[in-house]
């Protein structure tokens, strides 16, 4: 029904009426910017909230890196800010573990899950499949506000007297189940669990919406195999989330019960500080199964959208089709399936049945095959291209480099024999920060640089973007590459001071180097944040509808699309999105009908 209505409305909006008017419904400030149901605004809300969280999470890592690099130095300024948590200018153990836990939780869930797929699924799905909005804009709005609520609860836990949860982002019981186990296990952990429950609701609402939108609301001619790989990636991401997050929810709820209602799901045979607890018959390992049944797919929930965006951005900027579209799609599918079948590789040394362990070794190393296919296809996409190094393209190339480096160390850890030695050492920290943390961040940055003109109608400043890229790229390798050596020497994770150890204490110079680089890299991220907000208002204006010369549908919308995305009819799609360099033409948009003499591929 609303086809004509929205048409007239967007035309009206386009006619420079500053106050946008939608037919007969007025958009107030609140309905346009706060409780908005426009997928583009919701995407920006996710992005900006994600940026705020990334600053918080990154700052935490700077704080605990200070402790790691300079365990015997004092920083009086810390006491000024954090009082008892940094008594005498030294980060106290409880505070350290709170920082580590919050850093992990915030970056994994709030930044790289909500901030990444929340942003790009929302902005790109309707724009790239040719829909006016999500299947359910209202649920979409709720998805953001549940995330916001989760953020408020998590943030508040940082300010309670006993401090935030400090049991590590995996929150293993019994440590997380016993209030006697430490300060961080008091109210902070309850707030963490409540916040995660809200977050899961948000993620499910968002995910269901993405899936139904992709399945039902594609424009005419947009068959599934004509979708850009970004959409396929967020599609698989959403399915992973919908199938695995409920399991974490159940795990978290049972943990809340154990904490507050005296149940014994995870507790058995416990004597803590001389106090004998009555619980018997629970299994602490049960939680790990529930957690990692989400936790491993979660890795791919973080990584797949980055892969999708990198595929798209590399293709656009090499001016060349993505190599092996169907293989890319097949490998995404294979990764999504295998993601559910490898969770116990996080548990090789929990006393898991060795036979079961061997099955998980096989399945885990199997993931390397589709991953390798993706890497080779990206390389071939670059081969004989005509590559433009836009900031987005640089971050995409950086992503591939990091994905190779971090993926290869995964082959060490996925092999249970080697994992015995490397499990829970700094090697693991280096591995997952490269492959899941930094690589996904690179995918996210690539996406922001590439679609910023679509989001805000302006460009980001290129000089700042290039400085941001090079500092981050060099810094990431300087931080994490040598860290593997610490892991090979067996230095355990989460050790805030190694001076009491004979065998772990010979990396002082390395730790200091890493800390200094961390601070520099963090500063480079602040530069990005500045560039982001500065360019929203002051950036160079986009003057062309299709600034990158891309084929996908989002570039057929007006430079500043209103609610409803297209003036007039939604465009019809006639071809796949990767017809670059075909028949001597630089690019052929998806909306162009296939010509009579066009060559087939």
């Amino acid at each position: 029904m609303s086809e004509t209505m929205i048409t007239t409305a967007t035309v009206a909006a386009q006619a420079t009426t500053h106050h946008e008017e939608h037919g007969h419904h007025h958009e107030s400030f609140i309905s346009k910017y706060i409780f908005s149901m426009d997928h583009k605004t919701i995407g920006k809300q996710f992005l900006i909230t994600g940026i705020v969280w990334a600053i918080v999470g990154g700052l935490f890592s700077v704080l605990f890196r200070l402790q790691l690099g300079y365990p015997d130095k004092t920083f009086p300024i810390l006491e000024t800010f954090f009082g008892q948590w940094a008594k005498g200018g030294q980060i106290q153990p409880e505070f350290y573990y709170g920082l580590v836990t919050m850093h992990g939780t915030v970056l994994v869930f709030f930044v790289l899950t909500a901030g990444l797929s929340g942003t790009f699924a929302n902005i790109l799905i309707p724009l790239q499949i040719g829909a006016r909005d999500m299947a359910s804009p209202f649920l979409n709005m709720l998805s953001y506000w549940f995330f916001f609520l989760a953020s408020v609860v998590m943030m508040s836990s940082i300010f309670v007297n006993t401090g935030p949860a400090s049991g590590g982002w995996t929150m293993y019981p019994p440590l997380s189940a016993l209030k006697q186990a430490g300060d961080g296990q008091k109210i902070g952990t309850d707030l963490w669990l409540v916040s995660m429950a809200l977050f899961i609701v948000s993620s499910l609402l968002g995910g269901l919406n993405y899936i139904s939108t992709i399945l039902n609301m594609r424009t005419k001619g947009m068959s599934m195999t004509r979708m850009p790989l970004t959409i396929w990636a967020v599609f698989f991401t959403a399915i992973l989330g919908v199938l695995s997050f409920p399991v974490l929810l159940s795990g978290a709820i049972l943990l809340l019960f154990d904490r507050n209602l005296g149940t014994s799901f995870y507790l058995s045979d416990i004597v803590i500080n001389g106090e004998v607890l009555p619980n018997e018959g629970g299994s602490a390992i049960l939680y790990q199964h529930l957690f990692w049944f989400l936790g491993h797919p979660e890795v791919y929930i973080i990584l797949l959208p980055a892969m999708g965006m990198v595929s798209e951005i590399l293709s656009v900027n090499s001016r060349k089709p993505i190599f092996g579209y169907m293989a890319m799609l097949g490998s995404l599918f294979a990764i999504a399936i295998l993601a559910f079948l490898v969770w116990a590789h996080h548990m090789f040394v929990t006393g898991l049945n060795p036979f079961l362990g061997s099955v998980f070794v096989l399945l885990t190393l199997l993931i390397a095959v589709p991953s390798a296919i993706k890497v080779f296809n990206w390389l071939t996409t670059l081969w004989r291209g005509n590559i433009r190094f836009t900031p987005g393209a640089l971050f995409a190339i950086g992503f591939v480099s990091l994905f190779i480096s971090g993926g290869l160390t995964g082959i060490f850890l996925g092999n249970s024999t080697i994992d015995i030695h490397l499990h829970d050492t700094m090697f693991v920290v280096a591995h997952f920060h490269i492959v899941m943390g930094v690589a996904s961040f690179f995918g996210m940055f690539a996406g922001v640089y590439h679609w910023f003109p679509k989001m805000f109608g302006r460009y980001l400043n290129n000089t700042m973007a290039y400085i941001h890229f090079w500092v981050t790229m060099i810094g990431a390798y300087l931080i994490y590459w040598p860290m593997h050596y610490q892991g090979l020497a067996g230095v355990p994770r989460r050790y805030l001071d190694k001076s009491g150890w004979v065998n772990f204490n010979n990396f002082r110079d390395l730790d200091q180097m890493i800390t200094i680089v961390t601070i520099v890299v963090f500063a480079a991220q602040l530069l990005f944040v500045f560039n982001f907000f500065y360019s929203i208002y002051k950036g160079r204006k986009v003057r062309s509808q299709n600034p990158w010369g891309a084929n996908t549908l989002e570039w057929t919308t007006p430079i500043n699309p209103g609610h409803g995305n297209w003036e007039g009819d939604i465009p019809e799609v006639h071809r796949w999105p990767y017809d670059y360099a075909k028949d001597g033409r630089e690019f052929i948009p998806q909306t162009e009908p296939v010509g009579a003499n066009e060559s087939k591929h």
Binding site: Y172, L365, W378, G385, I519
Partner: protein, 349 residues
């Protein structure tokens, strides 16, 4: 003051970058965006190539810098298998790493935008796809095969003649129990744990197998060349028995006992010579986040000859006698040598 200077420098650098960025925006406005873009494209192309070259040199230098700090020779039979697997994997992944990274950055540099080149329309090639599906699959099968073979060797049942030691983690330390002459660990029940009455392990005294079990804290003694099976548990939260030199690791889970076994190859004395570190000790680290003292949860292990071990064991009194001094017949005969533990036990009672 130093922090203040660092902050000041950071702010200054920030301001400079902002000014340069603004200026470059104006410059490109004057020169024309297309020209500016092409120039920065060339610069970034060179930087990508430079990153590859300096990156690979950096990888080499990093190895030179740190290679002596990773652990030397493994100190257990299982450790040899782990290291062997590690080096095989390292060899294969290094080849892949160098080939793919070189290809990535070289292609990026070589095929950077040029007015003289047109991109090549190359959407797919089934044979290539097949090749790079099959080759990784074969390489990984080799790794999986070796990995599982070693894994079963390491996790297989302990030899019959293995000595047994119980290891229990608690916030934040380690407890050990030796089965004594009968070679059997007596039964225990967590509700009997009571350090005050001399029963920190929760042993059931009615089980006669408990009567000769020896309880010690923080330091474990093992015999060189003799397989040892650790029976691992935890009192409060999950800990992890990490033995870096033996390349062994196993979680300590409250309520669910776990085990692992290995054979120490070198005594502590031999390791002191091998490492050239006269302070060398085998350390037992907690590798699973267990609370605020996690980082300091350290135990030590002494690996010694059978004679030294026997002498050490003979100096220990079974916990049963510590907890029940009235049963201690030797103490009455030879009160001088064991007077101290007896009186403390009595005092606690």
């Amino acid at each position: 003051m130093q922090t203040f200077f660092i902050l000041a420098i950071l702010v200054l650098v920030f301001v400079i970058i902002l000014q340069i960025s603004k200026a470059s925006e104006y410059v490109s406005q004057i020169k024309g965006y297309e020209n500016a873009r092409k120039q920065s494209n060339r610069i970034n192309g060179f930087m990508l190539l430079g990153f590859l070259i300096f990156g690979l040199i950096g990888v080499y230098l990093c190895n030179e810098w740190l290679k002596d700090r990773i652990l030397g020779e493994p100190a257990s039979d299982h450790g040899e298998l782990v290291d062997q697997m590690l080096y095989v994997t390292l060899a294969i992944t290094s080849i892949v790493f160098i080939c793919t990274q070189v290809a990535l950055f070289w292609f990026a540099y070589k095929y950077q935008e040029s007015d003289h080149r047109k991109a090549y329309y190359y959407p797919h090639n089934n044979r290539l796809e097949l090749i790079w599906t099959v080759i990784p699959a074969i390489a990984l099968s080799v790794l999986v095969g070796f990995g599982i073979f070693y894994w079963f060797k390491i996790t297989g049942p302990a030899p019959k003649d293995a000595m047994v030691v119980e290891v229990v983690g608690k916030q934040f330390g380690w407890e050990f129990r030796y089965p004594g002459a009968d070679g059997v660990l007596g039964k225990k029940y967590f509700k009997k744990v009571d350090a005050v009455t001399g029963n920190p392990a929760g042993q059931l005294w009615e089980d006669p197998a408990n009567h000769d079990d020896v309880f010690v804290e923080q330091e474990m003694h093992l015999v060189v060349g003799k397989p040892v099976q650790l029976v691992i548990g935890a009192k409060d939260v999950i800990h992890d028995v990490g033995l870096v030199h033996f390349r062994m690791k196993m979680d300590a889970v409250p309520g669910t006992p776990t085990t692992m076994w290995f054979t120490p190859k070198f005594t502590t004395k031999e390791m002191k010579e091998k490492t050239g570190n006269k302070d060398f000790v085998y350390e037992l680290s907690c590798d699973q986040m267990c609370g605020k003292g996690h980082w300091s949860m350290r135990g030590t292990i002494v690996v010694e000859t059978q004679e030294e071990f026997d002498a050490w064991m003979a100096s220990k009194k079974p916990q049963y006698l510590v907890a029940n001094p009235d049963k201690d017949l030797t103490a009455k005969k030879d009160s001088a040598s064991v007077a101290l533990p007896m009186t403390t036990a009595v005092a606690k009672n």
